[in-house]
């Protein structure tokens, strides 16, 4: 009998206990994978190549303050800037105030929006149709799928921030590499219903010709308006998004607290199981030793058993997490665009293996050190 098959046979000697342990570890690792996925999508993912070349210019005081509309042409004049588009958050209500009916609505200039976001794909005839219709809008393909919108459908948005409602017609459906949860319409539509917005914009999206120029252009923009009535704050699209995550609160600490609780919980579960199974087998260990097994190989047997149980749990947990996240992401909402990647799964499994190793070490070490005579005398 080889060492591996010995480990396998022992690991499932008490089937019920092994299955319960594996399931317990699997659930914990499911949660850990879930937390790591959130962490990754918040803090590690870089976004598309174009997004690294894009800057967002907002009022320095806060995003809630507008910028003068003429800034757009001044920004355009800065060397390195290829396109600038104005954007205005509308914040209207679709159907009702249920969170699942929430999506972003931006008023923008239809002539330049898709130049600043070249990774958004839209059929040329749909784009042309939108540019001609002041009350038209273009919608994210994923959103269109969720709400069942087709070209020519009418959307009614109740204005919560602005004292007006929008009656929009879907003119185009665009597809972005990452879901945007957004629709875009012609900003002049809001201006017609709410005059004070004429000549001012929420923020600007700026496309820079190369990634090397991004920092320089950003500084140049802020420098240009430093002494004006409305100084700006320019940051990369990524930094801008991270700002929103920072507003949610101390997300990092929240994830870390939960993750460490989970890891510690698996450690306890695994250690309990190993302690139980080592204790039951004290006499067997003594027999193995009499047969000539060394202390090292006995240690390896038990540690191997614990590690294989936790590896199975880890594999199970992270694959279920993969499926769940994929399923939830397609439903829209909070998890939109998130994916459990192979490195995350590998990390989860590595954590599982490490925990298995640590949990088995002390009971197995004690077992391997027991005196043969004491071991044989042990009553279970």
């Amino acid at each position: 009998m080889t060492l591996t098959s010995f480990v396998r046979k022992n690991a499932f000697r008490n089937k019920r206990r092994s299955i319960l342990t594996v399931l317990s570890i699997a659930f914990s690792l499911l949660l850990l994978t879930f937390m790591m996925t959130i962490w990754r999508s918040f803090y590690i993912d870089e976004g598309t190549a174009q997004s690294a070349q894009r800057l967002i210019v907002r009022n320095k005081v806060s995003l809630a303050f507008p910028l003068p509309g003429f800034y757009r042409e001044k920004i355009r004049a800065i060397p390195g800037v290829t396109h600038v588009v104005n954007q205005q958050w509308f914040g209207g209500q679709y159907k009702d105030d249920k969170p699942e009916n929430f999506f972003a609505q931006f008023g923008a200039d239809p002539k330049e929006l898709f130049d600043v976001y070249p990774e958004f794909e839209i059929a040329p005839d749909q784009l042309a149709a939108w540019q001609k219709d002041r009350a038209g809008c273009v919608v994210d393909g994923k959103l269109a799928e969720k709400f069942g919108w087709k070209i020519g459908d009418h959307l009614h948005l109740k204005g919560l921030i602005f004292p007006m409602n929008l009656e929009l017609t879907v003119r185009g459906i665009f597809h972005a590499p990452l879901p945007t949860q957004s629709i875009y319409f012609d900003k002049t539509y809001i201006e017609e219903g709410f005059k004070p917005l004429k000549g001012s914009d929420g923020f600007f999206g700026v496309l820079v010709d190369s990634p090397e120029n991004v920092t320089r252009v950003g500084q140049a923009i802020d420098e240009l308006f430093r002494n004006s009535t409305a100084p700006t704050k320019t940051e990369t699209e990524r930094a801008f998004q991270l700002g929103f995550i920072a507003m949610l609160g101390n997300v990092k600490a929240f994830i870390l607290i939960i993750s460490s609780a989970v890891v510690f919980a698996i450690l306890l579960v695994s250690a309990t199981t190993m302690a139980m199974s080592v204790r039951e087998r004290t006499r067997e260990v003594a027999v193995l030793k009499t047969l000539g097994f060394t202390r090292g190989s006995i240690l390896a047997l038990f540690v191997g058993e614990a590690v294989s149980l936790s590896l199975i749990g880890g594999l199970l947990g992270s694959s279920v997490a993969f499926l769940l996240v994929a399923g939830a992401a397609s439903q829209g909402g909070f998890l939109t665009g998130m994916k459990v990647t192979p490195p995350t799964i590998l990390l989860a499994i590595a954590v599982a293996a490490l925990v298995g190793f640590l949990s088995a070490f002390i009971p197995s070490y004690n077992a391997s050190q027991t005196n043969i005579v004491d071991g044989l005398r042990h009553i279970g």
């Binding site: 319960l20 342990t21 317990s24 659930f27 914990s28 879930f34 919560l160 004292p163 306890l268």
Partner: protein, 387 residues
């Protein structure tokens, strides 16, 4: 006849290591659940207790927050002041306050970035209408000056929020002259300044909201309906507590993630508890059979083992709650779902939270213990005695 509880206590004591490790596993799950529930309780307290039922908040029709564009015209304020049912203060002035909200960005002290902070501009009358808010340091802002008073939470959590510091709002620098305490209310995360000064700075002739103080609850209801029904003013009136209660949805992301975390951890703990109880049953095969021979019935053995599992989970719950106690009152912030600005709240381990945590642990103990207990009770006496 029931098996005495001391039998179970002794058994738990006998296998100390196993008992402690399983209880710790349950404790971690309970601690996580307490953490999340306490966060939500704190958030509900911040919004749920804000507002006086005698105060009527008036917004533009169709708007759901004070942050909306457009709002209450100056002329409407004059109308409000003359409405019947509006309370008067001891100087015989009608208690009506026109207010404006701006969002400014401030850097957090702990270096986790900058965030939006609600800045409320109002008159001294507006301050007077919220008697629960107390000045703790310095003084209130002076009308006609670029001065602000900050809440204690803002003072503690943000840079540039000490007395003597200044913040740039619009075209001018506003000096911090005082700190107020509004803990446990939605105003706990606000900065307050003078409405007339900001109107001049921004050339705004409109208020984003108006607050009216009614003489009694009946008048409050009447004032609310009056504002809603006036076609000419196009306004939306509501009682102040109703408005803040509607913002508790800011806690939805925490609630949502929290529930998933608690459920998954609970399932994991249930399996662990089941394992431990199976082991307890397995060690005691002969003992259980002996109990049956003496005359204890199957149902009393079942009850006894379920009780042992419940004891185990209660021990876990106690450890978990004790672990979280030092965090009681710990303050943190999240984004308000309506105004996208910081709302500071604290962890509140209310009796409800503790009760729910105990219930949660008992549930885990019950689910984890029932199968092993059933197993113990249903074994044949002879087979078990022969073990």
């Amino acid at each position: 006849m029931a098996i005495p509880l001391s039998y179970n206590v002794r058994n738990l004591k006998l296998r100390k290591g196993l008992t402690i490790m399983t209880a710790l596993g349950i404790a971690l799950t309970v601690a996580t659940a307490v953490f999340i529930m306490a966060l939500l309780a704190g958030l509900n307290r911040a919004f749920g207790t804000t507002g006086d039922p005698l105060n009527v908040l008036v917004l533009r029709k169709g708007s759901n927050s004070e942050l909306s564009a457009g709002g209450v015209q100056r002329e409407a304020m004059q109308v409000f002041k003359d409405l019947p049912g509006v309370a008067k203060n001891n100087r015989n002035e009608p208690m009506v306050s026109g207010e404006d909200i701006l969002i400014i960005v401030l850097p957090r002290k702990d270096g986790t970035g900058e965030t939006n902070v609600t800045t409320r501009f109002l008159t001294p009358m507006g301050v007077e209408m919220r008697p629960e808010i107390k000045l703790v340091e310095g003084r209130w802002f002076t009308p006609g000056q670029r001065e602000i008073t900050v809440s204690k939470a803002i003072h503690d959590r943000f840079s540039h929020a000490n007395i003597g510091d200044s913040m740039r709002i619009g075209s001018g620098d506003w000096k911090v002259v005082g700190v107020f305490d509004a803990s446990g209310t939605a105003h706990a995360s606000e900065v307050w300044g003078d409405i007339n000064q900001i109107s001049t700075d921004f050339e705004r002739s409109i208020y984003s909201s108006a607050l009216l103080r009614a003489t009694d609850p009946v008048s409050a209801e009447a004032l609310k309906n009056r504002a809603n029904d006036d076609q000419r003013l196009e306004l939306n009136g509501m009682l102040e507590p109703e408005y803040y209660r509607s913002q508790t949805k800011s806690g939805d992301p925490i609630k949502w993630v929290g529930q998933i975390v608690a459920i998954i951890m609970a399932i994991g703990s249930c399996f662990a508890a089941t394992n431990t109880m199976y082991a307890a049953v397995a060690y005691r095969g002969r003992e259980i059979a002996t109990l049956r021979v003496i005359g204890f019935s199957r149902s009393s053995i079942l009850t006894s083992f379920v009780l042992e599992s419940l004891l185990l989970s209660l021990l876990g719950a106690a450890i978990g709650i004790l672990l979280m106690l030092p965090f009681n009152g710990w303050t943190t912030g999240t984004s308000n779902a309506v105004t996208f600005s910081e709302v500071v709240f604290s962890l509140q381990m209310t009796p409800t939270v503790i009760g729910a945590a105990l219930g949660f642990a008992l549930f885990m103990g019950l689910v984890g213990g029932i199968a092993p207990a059933w197993h113990a009770a249903s074994r044949e006496i002879l087979a078990a005695l022969r073990d």
